[in-house]
Structure formats: structure tokens, C-alpha cells
């Protein structure tokens, strides 16, 4: 009997605490506003650092509607930039033009976006008045400007400028790119064509396609020999057929050598830009890194 009473009391206590705890939880949820500005900002920052930029923008915009914050505007612009929505990013950064603290930084970021968009004249236009930048930002503006010259097809400025703007740590790498840009290892398209006209396939060998070159030599040699041999044997139809084929393959070999040199040169440019891109990304286009941008 005693045991039964204790079991009932245990069940009673259990139910009592259960009901009490649930009612308490309801009270807490009523008093806690999870969607307050502080929480939304915190959540937005978390999403931003997780590179979930689209949702972070939503949170920042919700906060920005209530309390205007320039840093948040900058972060929204930066998030658009990261999402490669460059026009929206430029628009957002331009809103910060008159801002005391963030005007220079937003202009630098805009310059970077123009560089990514390959709109080089816009970069120069933005960065030409580097005097407008505060002392601490002037060096970033200078670096970005001279980095743009390496991407652009304009004549390169004097190398002393690079020594002036870039630190000794990165200067050797920058100068390597400078020299590669100044003296790219191109192959002459004319020379390639002429070489192939003299000896079929030689132009291809000059470009580095040795197998293709020897094949072209063999093709032309065999077809030429067949034409000659058929003329000698008085097989006129076959002789003219092989002469025609020789002419087409000889012309094709010259044409192909010129095209091969052109492709080789495009490859040089392509590899240069790709390596420069990797280098620039590694150094964040020589722009400052900030903790508030999770960098």
C-alpha cells in the first residue's frame, strides 16, 4: 500500500514539474523577441562570415531600414561584389561617396570591381586623383592602379613606379609579371608561315608542335612525290589529282602554322592573365583586409 502511494506521488511530482516547466517556457518565449535588431544584426553577420551573402543582405537591409548604418551599407556592397553582382555593388558603394570614413574604401572597392569587369579606363578615372584618398589609403589606390596596368593593353609605366608603391615582400613577384608583360615570349606568326613555306611543317616545329610539323612534312613529301611520279609515268589524271592535293595540303600547312603561332600567343596571354588573377586574388588586389569583412 505504501509503495503504491509513493508511485502516485512520483507521478504527481513529475506531472507538476512538467506543467510548470512548459508554462515557464511560454513566459520566456513571450518576453524574448528573437527578431529584434540586435539579433538580426548578429545573425546577418554570422551569415556574412559563412559567405551566405544573399541571406545576409536581407538581414542587413532589415536592420538598415530601422537604423541607418554606413558599415552595413558597405557590407551589403561587399556582399554584392562577392556574389559577382557588380552593378548592384557599384550602386551601393556610390551611396557612400560623401561618407567621412568609408568614402575612400568604397571607391577602392569600386575600382577593384571595374578591374574585375575589365573596364580599365574607369579604374584609372577613379584612382587618378589618389590625392583625394586619405594618407593610409593612398598606397592602396596606387597599388591597384599599377596592378591594372598589368592587365590592360596600354603601354606599361616605368618600372620605378612599381618599386615605389609595392613592398619589398611582393615586389619580386610583381616585377616578374611586369617583365613578362613587357617582353612576352610570343612566336612570330609571319616567321612561322615563312618557315612552313620553305620547308613544310617547319613553322609548326618552331611553335613547338613537333609531331604536327613532321607529319605535315611527310604528308607534303609523299603527296608531292606521288604527283611527280605520276607525271613521270604519264598518268595525267592521277598526276593532276595529287598535284591538287599537294597544293591544298601545302597551303593548309602554311595557314595552319600561322594559326598555330597565333594560338600559341593567345595561350601566352591567357596563362599570364590567369596567373596574375591568382596572384591578385591571393593578395586581395592589394586592398586592405578588415575583420568586419571576415577576412
Amino acid at each position: 500500500m505504501k509503495r503504491k502511494t509513493s508511485q502516485i506521488s512520483t507521478i504527481f511530482y513529475f506531472l507538476f514539474f512538467f506543467v510548470l516547466s512548459t508554462s515557464f517556457a511560454q513566459v520566456v518565449s513571450k518576453t524574448n523577441d528573437y527578431f529584434n535588431l540586435k539579433n538580426r544584426l548578429k545573425f546577418g553577420n554570422y551569415l556574412f562570415c559563412q559567405q551566405d551573402y544573399l541571406r545576409a543582405i536581407d538581414e542587413f537591409n532589415a536592420v538598415n531600414k530601422k537604423i541607418k548604418n554606413d558599415t552595413l551599407d558597405f557590407k551589403i556592397g561587399y556582399a554584392f561584389e562577392k556574389m559577382r553582382k557588380y552593378d548592384k555593388a557599384i550602386e551601393k558603394f556610390s551611396e557612400l561617396n560623401g561618407n567621412k570614413n568609408l568614402s575612400g574604401l568604397s571607391r577602392l572597392e569600386t575600382g577593384k570591381i571595374f578591374l574585375l569587369k575589365k573596364e580599365f579606363p574607369e579604374v584609372y578615372k577613379l584612382l587618378i586623383d589618389s590625392i583625394e584618398y586619405k594618407n593610409n589609403l593612398r598606397q592602396y589606390a596606387g597599388r591597384l592602379k599599377y596592378l591594372t596596368y598589368l592587365y590592360d593593353n596600354k603601354p606599361l609605366p616605368d618600372s620605378s613606379n612599381y618599386k615605389l608603391w609595392f613592398s619589398s615582400k611582393v615586389l619580386p613577384d610583381v616585377m616578374k609579371f611586369y617583365r613578362r608583360k613587357q617582353n612576352p615570349h610570343y612566336k612570330s606568326e609571319t616567321l612561322s608561315g615563312v618557315l612552313s613555306a620553305i620547308i613544310p611543317g617547319l613553322g609548326k616545329i618552331y611553335v613547338g608542335e613537333i609531331g604536327d610539323g613532321i607529319t605535315a612534312l611527310l604528308f607534303n613529301g609523299v603527296l608531292g612525290f606521288l604527283a611527280y611520279n605520276n607525271f613521270k609515268a604519264n598518268h595525267k589524271f592521277r598526276a593532276w589529282l595529287f598535284t591538287g592535293l599537294t597544293a591544298v595540303f601545302y597551303g593548309g600547312n602554311i595557314y595552319g602554322s600561322v594559326a598555330a603561332a597565333q594560338i600559341y600567343n593567345s595561350g601566352v596571354n591567357f596563362r599570364f592573365t590567369r596567373e596574375l588573377n591568382l596572384f591578385s586574388k591571393k593578395h586581395n588586389y592589394f586592398l586592405p583586409k578588415f575583420k568586419f569583412l571576415c577576412e
Partner: protein, 146 residues
């Protein structure tokens, strides 16, 4: 009773262990290259040259290529390259481009390391790269940027 249960518990494992033998069977691999995108058998009536050329190429495809198999290591294949080259330039330039492509395809040394392999599993060699127009040259980048 417990012993019987333990033994019964082992039976599924034993059955699965038998299935494991399948791992050692020879693998059914198809070494055939994936088929080129569908061929356009229509005849181009825009001018006499392209009409004759597309007709001849169609004849080659139906009587030889489709029967012999899709063997060209390049994408687009040599015949398609020829048609595209003529359409994008003219008959003479197209013939020169084809002669060059045919020489490269017949490369006895198989040194095709400078071509990138595209999604069809073939060497990517588009017509645009041979039009002698620098801005049209296309590369497939292994690092992701185009």
C-alpha cells in the same frame, strides 16, 4: 534459445559475405568514346559551294562514318570542322583549315598534349581558333576560368 538467436543473427552477415564475391568479377567497361552531338544531315542551300560540300559530307557520314564508328579524337569531328569552317569563312579558307586539321589528326606521333579535353571526352579544337581572328580564340581552362 539465446544460442539459436545468435546464430540466426549471423545468417544475414553470411549471406552478404557471399555477395562480396561479385567485387572480383570483371568490370563491364565500355571503351567507346561518347557519341558526338547529333549530326545535322540537312543540305545547306545558301550557295552552290556549301550545297555540294554538305551533300558530299552527308554522303560520307551515311556511307562511311556512321558505319565505321565515331572515331575522330577531336571535337568537333574533322568532317563537321570542314563544314563549319566553310560556313564561317569561305570554300578556299575552309579547305585550307580542313587540310591543316587533317594533318593534325593524322599526327603519327600522337602528340596532342596541347589540346584540352572537353566534356565529350575529346580534344577540344573549335573552328574559331583557326579563323586567324585573335579575339575569337577560345581556351578551356583547367582552373575554372574561361
Amino acid at each position: 534459445m539465446t544460442r539459436i538467436l545468435v546464430i540466426l543473427l549471423f545468417i544475414p552477415f553470411l549471406i552478404n559475405a557471399q555477395v562480396d564475391w561479385e567485387k572480383w568479377k570483371p568490370e563491364n567497361r565500355i571503351y567507346q568514346l561518347p557519341e558526338n552531338p547529333k549530326r545535322d544531315y540537312s543540305i545547306d542551300n545558301s550557295n552552290l559551294g556549301t550545297m555540294v560540300l554538305t551533300g558530299v559530307i552527308d554522303l560520307y557520314w551515311i556511307t562511311i562514318s556512321d558505319v565505321d564508328g565515331d572515331n575522330c579524337p577531336f571535337h568537333p569531328s574533322c568532317s563537321t570542322f570542314f563544314v563549319k569552317a566553310v560556313k564561317k569563312s569561305n570554300l578556299i579558307k575552309g579547305a585550307l583549315m580542313f587540310a591543316d586539321r587533317f594533318t593534325r589528326d593524322s599526327n603519327f606521333f600522337k602528340s596532342k598534349h596541347h589540346y584540352k579535353i572537353d566534356e565529350t571526352g575529346r580534344f577540344y579544337d573549335p573552328v574559331d581558333n583557326y579563323l586567324l581572328e585573335k579575339n575569337k580564340i577560345v581556351f578551356i581552362d583547367t582552373y575554372g576560368d574561361k
